[in-house]
């Protein structure tokens, strides 16, 4: 059995890959997918702790994170569609109307 620290390290690496994607990609849909990747990295941490500590609460929390992620996917993609309809682009560098 791999030690808990290795599970946490894999989760940290995936989370940071997601962070990097959010910070340097400009396509709104890919930024959205990177957020999903970060959510999954956190899920891995929760499940690893849950199984190593023998406490099921972590897995219940992951279940609810997945529920919220599904809701977030629906709303987020609807926002992307509404954005594309109004601006004909999903490049977040060109969507700057709220920027000072």
């Amino acid at each position: 059995m791999a030690p808990l620290s290795h599970y946490l390290a894999v989760s940290a690496i995936l989370f940071v890959i997601g962070t990097a994607g959010v910070l340097f990609r400009r396509n709104a849909i890919i930024v959205f997918m990177c957020v999903e990747l970060m959510l999954n990295a956190v899920n891995l941490t929760l499940i690893a702790f849950s199984q190593f500590l023998g406490d099921q609460t972590g897995q219940i929390l992951v279940f609810f994170v997945m529920t919220v992620a599904a809701a977030e996917a629906a709303v987020g993609l609807a926002i992307v569609i509404a954005l594309f309809r109004n601006r004909q682009t999903v490049d977040i560098a060109k969507v700057n109307i709220l920027k000072w």
Binding site: Y7, A12, L14, T19, A20, I29, A73, V80, I81
Partner: protein, 169 residues
Amino acid sequence: MPLSEIAFYVLSAGAIIFALLTITRKSAVVSALMLVMTFCFLAGIYLTLSAQFLAVVQVAVYAGAIMVLVLFVIMLLNLESEDIRITSSWKSLVGVLVALGVLAQILAMIFMSEDKLPKTISASAAVLGTTESVGTTLYTAYSFPFEMASIILISAAVGAIILAKKRLA
């Protein structure tokens, strides 16, 4: 090295490689497919932790439902591919540096406190991960949050329809 340990390292390497491919591909469709692969590898990692129920939910909900939705939107919008060279702006470079800094911090935190972490997987882990066990807890101790989840889902569905529908002039 026992089989489950080898499986963990192989699956982790796969998940990390496909995650890197996700953020470095120009085409959004290819990125989405790479992300599906990452989610499948993650489901395998959940299996090495004997969290069977969540592994199956991961494949069905993430790799299945959510990513199909994403692919539908990508194909609906007919996107042009973007310039993703890291040097395309100084902001991208700063973004990657910030991410690497965060990684160094998290890894330092994990490995400096390694001796405080539990050494082996809990003896009850195999039981805790089954559908029966998760379902029992979900429908008894957590039945109220479970019902609240249905409210979140229905409001998200209504919100998505309102956001995406054509405005009548």
